[in-house]
């Protein structure tokens, strides 16, 4: 599964998107994010399953082509 990674350096800062990881479980995704994005002493670091992001606008065009198209 793909997870988007968000973080902020200081409390009160905006929480911003800093990258993504691919992992087999939520628990592993958290550890991957911790180890991979360790360039800062984050005040807050979080991962979100890509499938749980609810798009409001800006829907990405479908990349896959269905059989028969």
């Amino acid at each position: 599964m793909k997870y988007e990674v968000f973080a902020r350096i200081n409390q009160g800062d905006d929480t911003t998107h800093i990258g993504n990881v691919t992992a087999q479980s939520d628990r592993l995704a958290k550890m991957y994010a911790y180890n991979t994005f360790d360039e800062e002493d984050w005040n807050y670091l979080t991962v979100v399953r890509e499938e749980n992001l609810l798009e409001v606008t800006g829907t990405q065009p479908k990349r896959e082509v269905a059989a028969g198209e």
Partner: protein, 254 residues
């Protein structure tokens, strides 16, 4: 700095040696993981373990241990590392199922130390260890799905070896010499119980059965109290040379 009771010096030596070899194994395998994230995690853990060793070596030196000896100027049989780290053969699955029990056992021993002068040091190490152990468990969960036979077979060997690092079941509150001195706040029997319960819970409901793990190891009569293991095994001479960094001396700039 106050003097530690003699059994406590060996106790900390075994933790330090386990971390020393653990750091080496992490580094050896840090380009062998199934993903870049696994490799980054291994390389990061290697650095942290060696950092812990440097701190513990300073403490052990203050208790009379020779720094060169601590840093590897000794025979392989003089290392008191967890036996499951002596050599790791096989695949990345065997590697994870070997290092995880050792890292957790060393942390449980460290966490039991009850000394005000070591409190800050241990708290900092615990912050690092939280992420090591959480990563190991997360990985063992996925490997239990992907490759349960290998995980189970490896743990049947490595869990008793890690239990030997912790110590024998017979070391309860009336018999554990380190606990009796007040150096630790819980006896070995209690540390073992928490350790065993953790792995039973971790694999509960998975395809990995721990039914054939010999949870009674080590037998008190077979246990080497200094090296915290049974038997005469050790890391290899090559490992010792790599730990000393002898070949790297060629590149030293004066």
């Amino acid at each position: 700095m106050s003097e530690w009771p003699e059994p406590a010096v060996d106790y900390v030596q075994a933790i330090s040696d386990t971390k020393l070899v653990l750091g080496h194994r992490y580094a050896e395998w840090s380009l062998s993981g199934p993903s870049l994230e696994d490799d980054i995690g291994g390389a990061s853990a290697a650095q942290e373990e060696i950092g812990h060793v440097r701190q513990l070596a300073r403490e052990l030196e203050s208790q009379g241990r020779d720094l060169d000896w601590l840093n590897g100027q000794r025979e392989p049989e003089a290392f008191s590392n967890a036996a499951c780290l002596d050599s790791i053969e096989g695949t990345w699955t065997e590697y994870v199922a070997s290092i995880a029990p050792a890292d957790r056992a060393a942390w449980y021993l460290l966490d039991a130390i009850d000394r005000d002068d070591l409190d800050g040091l241990i708290t900092k190490m615990g912050e690092d260890e939280y992420f090591h152990l959480e990563y190991h468990d997360a990985r063992l969960e996925t490997l239990a799905e992907d490759n349960p036979e290998t995980v189970q077979r490896t743990l049947e060997t490595t869990l008793p070896q890690a239990l030997a690092l912790i110590g024998p079941e017979a070391y309860d509150e009336d018999a554990d010499p380190v606990f009796e001195t007040g150096f630790t706040d819980r006896p070995i029997a209690k540390i073992r119980a928490a350790y065993i319960e953790h792995y039973r819970r971790l694999f509960d409901g998975t395809d990995v059965s721990l039914e054939n793990v010999d949870w009674d190891q080590p037998a008190l009569e077979d246990w080497d109290e200094t090296r915290r293991r049974t038997g005469s095994g050790s890391i290899s001479q090559t490992d010792v040379e790599q730990l000393r960094g002898e070949k790297n001396k060629l590149f030293t700039m004066n």
